[in-house]
């Protein structure tokens, strides 16, 4: 089995994994007229990419660190890829879930009779390529470039519906993401370059001198990175996420679970480890501030989520809350904080993916998006709602689902750094999750079908039903394999 994934040299795999979606981009464009072939092309590219990501994942796990210099524009200024465990993990998740998401998109887009499907799949191809670029980026500049590419390539997805709401949502999406990345992230990158003369990622960070001599500067840089990576949806730069909910559901799933928000928190985590340096970070006052902002994000977003009647909006706020966990872990910057952050990226991806795909399935089968309309729907769509419950349990952090371990690791991390109050936040967050995530599904099962008609099972099309179940089972499986992921990520925290 493992041999199957050792056919390609890792460098080749990296290139292919990013090139395959781009090739698919053109193929999809050419196959505009024959939807089946077009989707086949998307899935094929997805599988190729996934295969490469697995190859890379295994290779990196064995200690290899493939590096590719794309171009060196100036001495010290280059675009390069360098894969390390965290990136390999993120690449694996993104590419794997892309396949699932594509399958789901087929069901959703056709079931929902969406227009502009070719454009839709094309944008997806670019976006996934950009996401992999983020995952495998070898320096801040490359990271930044792909980060922007991801923003731009997902923009047509967000505004897919092309109505006024989509435009408004798209404006906020683009405005916040571009504004923060250029206004905050870019200066941070440039500043780091100015201070150190390099932007390369290096384990342990490159700002040790700065942190020692200029703590204030270091603090400002920390803040710039934390908020500049607005894809991580740290408050108050989160509104792009709920605003992007105007998009079709596969896009939401993509934003929340596969790539975009994940890219943000991945970025925060990676920058914390590889640029700022965990040791420096744990001593920095700014990190404390961000930690508490993240903690506040967790709670405030949960509170807002509770008040949302639109299921997707509720899930969006839930993401804001859940992904602040990663930021929290990154800013705690202790051994377990970082491991917890990494684990949360994986666990949340599967869980939230499930939830979104279920929400989409409900929309496809019954055109319902408000929770208040879903009462009694559970008995009409039992499989969808069961998958939803599994996803919700994983997000809440209940065993035997994957979301359990990150929470535990983060608790360990918070205690390690003496922030007992964060443990309270994590607990409270879980309890709030129960209320706002489980309630809709349970009510859907328990309340009577409106009009007291007999409940006849009417599920979404198979393409909308199997993917959420796939990820739901993934939540279960990952619970048992989380130990392996933690072992996998251990090189990140060596010496902490």
């Amino acid at each position: 089995m493992a041999g199957l994934f050792q056919l390609l040299p890792l460098e080749t795999a990296v290139v292919v994994s990013m090139a395959a979606p781009l090739v698919a981009f053109f193929v999809v464009a050419l196959l505009d007229r024959s939807p089946n072939l077009r989707e086949a092309a998307s899935i094929t590219a997805g599988l190729v990419t996934f295969y490469c990501a697995v190859t890379i994942f295994i290779g990196v796990g064995d200690g290899a660190r493939p590096e590719i210099d794309i171009v060196e524009m100036l001495p010290g200024l280059s675009l390069k890829l360098a894969v390390e465990p965290l990136g390999a993990l993120f690449g694996l998740i993104a590419s794997g879930l892309w396949v699932v998401n594509t399958c789901y998109s087929i069901g959703y887009m056709r079931g929902h009779h969406e227009g502009g499907q070719t454009r839709f799949y094309m944008a997806f191809c670019v976006a996934i390529s950009a996401a992999l670029g983020i995952a495998y980026a070898g320096n801040l500049l490359t990271f930044f470039l792909f980060y922007e590419a991801l923003t731009l390539s997902t923009f047509p997805l967000v505004t897919h519906e092309r109505d006024e709401a989509a435009r408004a949502g798209g404006r906020v999406y683009l405005g916040i993401l571009m504004g923060t990345s250029i206004g905050l992230l870019l200066p941070a990158v440039v500043w780091v370059y100015g201070l150190t003369g390099t932007t390369d990622f290096a384990l342990g960070g490159i700002l040790g001198q700065v942190s020692a001599n200029m703590p204030l500067v270091f603090s400002i840089i920390v803040c710039l990175f934390a908020w500049g990576t607005a894809k991580a949806a740290l408050m108050p730069f989160h509104p792009w996420l709920p605003n992007a909910m105007v998009a079709p559901t596969p896009v939401s799933a993509f934003l929340h679970a596969v790539a975009v928000v994940k890219a943000g928190v991945f970025g925060v985590l990676k920058i914390s480890i590889y640029t700022l340096g965990a040791v420096e970070l744990s001593q920095s006052a700014a990190a404390d501030i961000i930690t508490y902002v993240a903690a506040a994000s967790i709670l405030i977003a949960s509170a807002i989520a509770m008040t949302q009647d639109n299921l997707k909006a509720r899930l969006a706020y839930s993401t804001v809350s859940q992904l602040s966990y990663v930021t929290l872990g990154a800013m705690i910057a202790s051994r377990y904080g970082i491991l917890g952050g990494g684990a949360q990226i994986a666990a949340h991806a599967l869980g939230k993916m499930t939830l979104f795909m279920c929400a989409g399935a409900i929309a496809v089968a019954h055109h319902k998006k408000y929770i208040s309309e879903m009462r009694g729907l559970g008995r009409v769509m039992p499989y969808t709602f069961t998958a939803y419950i599994i996803g919700a349990c994983s997000i809440i952090g209940l065993p035997p689902f994957a979301g359990t371990w990150p929470k535990f690791l983060l608790m360990l991390g918070s205690i390690e750094t003496g922030d007992a109050i964060l443990v309270g936040v994590l607990i409270l967050s879980s309890l709030m999750n129960i209320v706002y995530l489980l309630t809709p599904a349970v009510r859907a099962f328990m309340d009577p079908v409106p009009g007291n008609q007999a409940a006849e099972i009417k599920e979404a099309p198979a393409f909308c039903l199997f993917p959420p179940w796939f990820t739901a089972i993934g939540c279960l499986v990952l619970f048992f394999y989380m130990g392996d992921i933690i072992r996998y990520l251990e090189p990140l925290v060596e010496g902490l």
Binding site: R379, F445, M446, D447, P448, V449, N452, A454, A455
Partner: protein
């Protein structure tokens, strides 16, 4: 066991436990048994076959248990019922009309209903 004549039901609807004879029997049986065991305890105490851990006020006293049983029970019932003055509320106090929201109608529930009517006993 019932020690009270039910005012409304017909005599032929009564079971043996509701007959005056049974009730009379109970009025003898219960205190009688109690006294019997109290006596037995006194005997045991006299024969030093008991193993008390506390003083005369407590288990060294052979009828202590009877007193405890009687007094505790009476205390619980007589004092406990006054708790109602503080905590008792109408049945729909918490959930209001939602408390009576109809139950669901899954296949299982349909089956359950038929079982409860005794239609499909196996």
């Amino acid at each position: 066991m019932s020690d009270e004549q039910h005012p409304d039901i017909l005599p032929e609807e009564r079971s043996i436990f509701e007959t005056p004879g049974w009730i009379r029997f109970m009025w003898f049986f219960v205190p009688g048994t109690g006294l019997f065991f109290a006596l037995m305890n006194i005997v045991l105490a006299v024969l030093h076959k008991t193993h008390p851990h506390f003083g005369w006020l407590f288990d060294k006293n052979p009828v202590f248990y009877g007193i405890v049983g009687f007094v505790s029970f009476s205390f619980i019932v007589l004092v406990g019922q006054h708790l109602r003055k503080i905590v008792m509320r109408p049945e729909d106090y918490y959930d209001g009309p939602e408390a009576t929201m109809p139950r669901i109608n899954t296949d299982d529930e349909v089956r359950m209903r038929s079982i409860s009517l005794g239609e499909t006993d196996e």
